[in-house]
């Protein structure tokens, strides 16, 4: 075994890959739990679990979905252990301002921040598939498999998630242009 975490060899490669995927996993966990510190803790614990059972991963190409599944389970375990408080979105947005304020210097910076706040207001059942699709790049079939839903159910949730967001921003939500 290597002397240094992240050194040469299988362990080093595993750790390097985990480290590269960590930001996206934290983002996913944040949108799942709507709490930055919880997200960091959950991902840290999930990565340690993955590290302990890295031999279970036969196909390194499947590492991202494998880790994401572990993060989801770890989040569920955390949720079981401590009953998480109801989230006041306004307080949450104020508390997580450094994370939610758009880092980019663009004209629509305010709109991006408002969009983040709007996503936080979506129900879990809409927010999670949306994040899996847009942030994690999952296909509908992959989301269905991860969430244990039918593809039809996933499509419905994705549609409703965007429909709600668009409505919040005054975007055209009509399905029939004749209406």
């Amino acid at each position: 075994m290597n002397g240094q975490p992240g050194g040469n060899g299988k362990r080093g490669r595993f750790e390097a890959l985990c480290a590269s995927l960590r930001p996206d996993l934290i983002r996913f966990a944040f949108w799942l739990g709507r709490d930055r510190q919880l997200a960091e803790d959950v991902v840290q614990e999930a990565l340690l679990r993955a590290w302990r059972s890295q031999d279970m991963l036969a196909d390194p190409a499947a590492m991202k979905p494998w880790l994401l599944t572990i993060v989801r389970r770890e989040f569920a375990r955390t949720f079981e252990r401590k009953r998480l408080d109801l989230v006041d979105i306004d307080e949450l947005v104020a508390r997580e301002e450094p994370m939610l304020s758009a880092a980019e210097n663009t004209a629509d910076v305010q709109q991006i921040a408002e969009l983040r706040s709007a996503v936080l207001r979506l129900d879990d059942e809409y927010r999670e598939p949306l994040v899996l699709q847009v942030l994690m790049g999952y296909s509908t079939a992959e989301i269905a498999a991860e969430l244990g839903l039918s593809t039809a159910a996933v499509l419905t949730r994705l549609f409703r998630a965007r429909h709600k967001l668009r409505a919040m921003f005054g975007e055209d939500t009509s399905l029939d242009p004749e209406e």
Binding site: R27, R36, M99, T140, A145, A153, D176
Partner: protein, 234 residues
Amino acid sequence: MTMGCKQFRQTLLAEPRTVDAEFTQHLASCAVCSGFAARATAFEGKLARALAIGVKTSARRSASSAAVRWPAQHVPRRWLALAASVLLGIGVVTVLWLAKPAPSLAAALVEHMSHEPGSWAVSAADVSAETLAEVFKKDRLSLRPTGGEVRYARVCGFRGRSVPHLVVQQNGMPVTVMVLTHESVSRPTPFAEGGYRGIIEPAPRGSVAVIARDRDAIDVAQAAAVVVRAIDGW
């Protein structure tokens, strides 16, 4: 059938990246929906940027722990002496441990069940043929409809391999099916533990495990035979 405006917009809001032929055709032929799609694409870009929040380590963590905190591998020297003195005692325990049989395949299956309790809470709708094909793709297998109504299907990590994990409705009862092409058994191996009853059935390539909850009155041996026969491509 040509896609209408309503279906186009529903598809666009559910799967903006779809490359479905009818979708593309409608996009090219309907000026109103084309404008709608352009605005939706712009909104989608903002959504993607919104979700990609900056990941800075919270103030609660020190800079040194900004990255993943892996278990330490360096053991301080002062602990080495203590560890050495303990080694002999551990050796005795280790011998006893080694005498204990390794976790059985059945135990691993039951353990896997505990990791996916949600798989039993499946929807009333069947899994799509595309999803099913994807789940079986790696093993170059397929499942005929005679295997039962598939209500849950995904690829799971199990003992170092990716294996198809299904929940199939047989005679109105759900059973979990795990297709283990890398695990061979010489004969049907029934087991019952942890609130589950199951059987590991030999298959032409590896085995198939069928697991039912204790409370569901289903003949797992019969269910396993049905599933093995329904799988093509062995």
